[in-house]
Amino acid sequence: MILMENVQKSFDDNHVLRGMNLEIPKGTSMVIIGGSGTGKSVGLKCILGLIKPDAGRIMVDGKDASKGDRDKFLARFGMLFQGGALFDSLPVWQNVAFRLLRGSLKRPVEEAREIAIEKLRRVGLKSDVADRFPAELSGGMQKRVGLARAIAAEPEIIFFDEPTTGLDPIMSGVINDLIREIVVEMGATAMTITHDMSSVRAIADNVAMLHDGVIQWTGPVSQMDSSSDPYLEQFITGSAEGPIEAVR
C-alpha cells in the first residue's frame, strides 16, 4: 500500500503540491487525472524519491519511503516516464532489459534479450525494433519501449506517466488492456497518470483528481460519473465553462 500524507513541494515561488493526500491499496489500480502542469508527475517522482518533498510523509507498506535501503526499495518499482526517457546510447532491447543486465536482478545475456523481445511484443512492437536505437523510433514507439522497460523486471509497483499520450486509438486500447492485465494477473499495484477519459474507465479501480496542489476528489471509478464535484464534472465533460479556469 502507498500512502501520501500532506505532501508539499514548491519550486521557488511555484507552489506545485500544497498538501497532497492519497491512499493506494495493494494490488489496485489508481488513476490520477488533472490539468497539465498541476503536479501529477511531480507527485509520482516524490514517491520514488527523485524529488524531495518540502513537507509531508510518504509510506510504502507502512515504511517511510525516504528511509532504508534505496536499492531494495527501487527494485520493487517500475516507471514509465512521460517523455519515455530511453537511454539513447543503448539499442532498444538493452533499454528494455537494462535491469536484467546488471545489479541484483542480473541474468545471462541471451535470457535477458529473450525477455526484452517478449515484453516488446506485449506492447505491440515486433522483434525487428530490438536492435534499433531509440532515436530511430517514432514518439509513440518510444513510449511503448519505455512501457516495456517499466514492466521488464515484473515489479510489484508500477507507475505509468501518460502511457497512451501520442498513441493511435487502437494502440491506446492495447496499452490499456495491458495495464489492466498487469494489475489483475500479476497482482501489481499501479498508478497511472492520464488525460484520456477512455483510459481512465479501462484502467482504473480508483480515480483521484489533482487540482490546485491537492486531491480535489477521489473515489472508485464507478462513482466518478455520479459525483457532483464541479471540478471533476468539468474535467470529465471537457467543458471550458466551470470552476477550472481555461485561460485563453
Binding site: L48, D71, L74, F81, G83, A85, G103, R149
Partner: protein, 260 residues
C-alpha cells in the same frame, strides 16, 4: 548605505564562489570515491577510454607538432640576438615537457572532452534519463561519472606524454630541416638535458588536468538547468571553468615542482 553597496556585492560574489568551490570539491571527492567501490561498469569505462584517449590523439598530435615547430623557430630567432642559437633543443624540450605539453593538451581536452561530457549528461538530465537510471537502481555517479573521470585520469597523462614527444619531434624536424642542426647532436642534447623531475611533473599535470576536465563536465551536466537552454549553459560553463581551473592548477603545480 550606498557607499557600502559594492562591499555587499563583493561579499556575495565571494560567498557564491566559495560555495561553488565547495560544491565542486565535494562532487569530485564523491566521484573519486565511487571509482573504488562496486558495482563497476567496465563497458562504460571502455567507451570512455576510447572517447577520451584514443579519439583525442589526432587533436593532441596536431596541436603538439605545430607548437613544437613554432617554438624551435622562436627560440632560434630569439637566441640569435645574443649568439645562443644552440640552445634550441634544450629549450624546446623544457618548454614542451614542463609547460606547453600539459597545458595545451589539457586545454584541448577541456574543449573536446569536457564539452561533450557536459552536453551528453545535461541532455540525459533534461530528458529524464538520469531519473530513469535512478529508478532502475543504477547510481548515475557510478554509471556515468566514475568511468569518465577514471578514463580521463588514466588517458590524459598518456596523451600528455605523447604530446611531449610529438612536440619535441616537431621542434627537431624544423631545427634539422630548416635551421641546420645536426640530427644526432639535437637528440643527444634533448635527452641529456631533460631530468626525471621534468617528465614526472608533465605526467602529474596531465592526470590533474584530465581529472579537472572530466569532473567539470560531469558536474555541470548533472546540475544542468531545464530545456535546451539549460544544456547550452551547462556546456559553456563547464568548458570555461575547466579551462580556468587547468591554468590555475598549472600555476600551482609548477610552483610545487620547480620552486621548492
Amino acid at each position: 548605505m550606498n557607499l557600502l553597496a559594492p562591499l555587499g556585492w563583493l561579499g556575495r560574489i565571494t560567498f557564491e564562489l566559495l560555495s561553488m568551490f565547495g560544491a565542486v570539491s565535494l562532487f569530485a571527492a564523491r566521484a573519486i570515491s565511487h571509482i573504488f567501490r562496486p558495482p563497476y561498469y567496465p563497458r562504460e569505462l571502455m567507451i570512455s577510454l576510447l572517447n577520451v584517449g584514443w579519439l583525442s590523439l589526432p587533436v593532441v598530435g596536431l596541436t603538439a607538432i605545430f607548437t613544437g615547430g613554432a617554438l624551435a623557430l622562436q627560440i632560434y630567432a630569439g637566441g640569435a640576438r645574443f649568439n645562443a642559437e644552440a640552445v634550441v633543443p634544450q629549450i624546446v624540450a623544457i618548454g614542451m615537457v614542463r609547460e606547453l605539453g600539459p597545458v595545451l593538451v589539457g586545454l584541448m581536452i577541456a574543449a573536446r572532452v569536457t564539452s561533450s561530457i557536459a552536453a551528453e549528461i545535461a541532455t540525459m538530465k533534461v530528458t529524464e534519463q538520469i531519473d530513469a537510471l535512478v529508478t532502475l537502481s543504477t547510481n548515475p555517479m557510478k554509471y556515468l561519472v566514475a568511468p569518465r573521470v577514471l578514463a580521463a585520469l588514466i588517458t590524459v597523462p598518456v596523451l600528455v606524454g605523447i604530446g611531449d614527444i610529438i612536440g619535441i619531434a616537431g621542434g627537431y624536424t624544423v631545427a634539422v630541416q630548416n635551421l641546420g642542426f645536426n640530427p644526432a647532436a639535437y637528440l643527444r642534447n634533448t635527452v641529456d638535458f631533460l631530468e626525471m623531475r621534468d617528465i614526472v611533473s608533465s605526467l602529474v599535470k596531465g592526470a590533474a588536468f584530465g581529472g579537472i576536465a572530466a569532473v567539470m563536465g560531469c558536474y555541470y551536466g548533472m546540475n544542468s538547468g531545464r530545456g535546451a537552454q539549460g544544456v547550452g549553459r551547462a556546456t559553456k560553463s563547464s568548458v570555461e571553468s575547466a579551462a580556468i581551473l587547468i591554468l590555475a592548477a598549472n600555476f600551482v603545480l609548477t610552483g610545487v615542482f620547480f620552486s621548492l
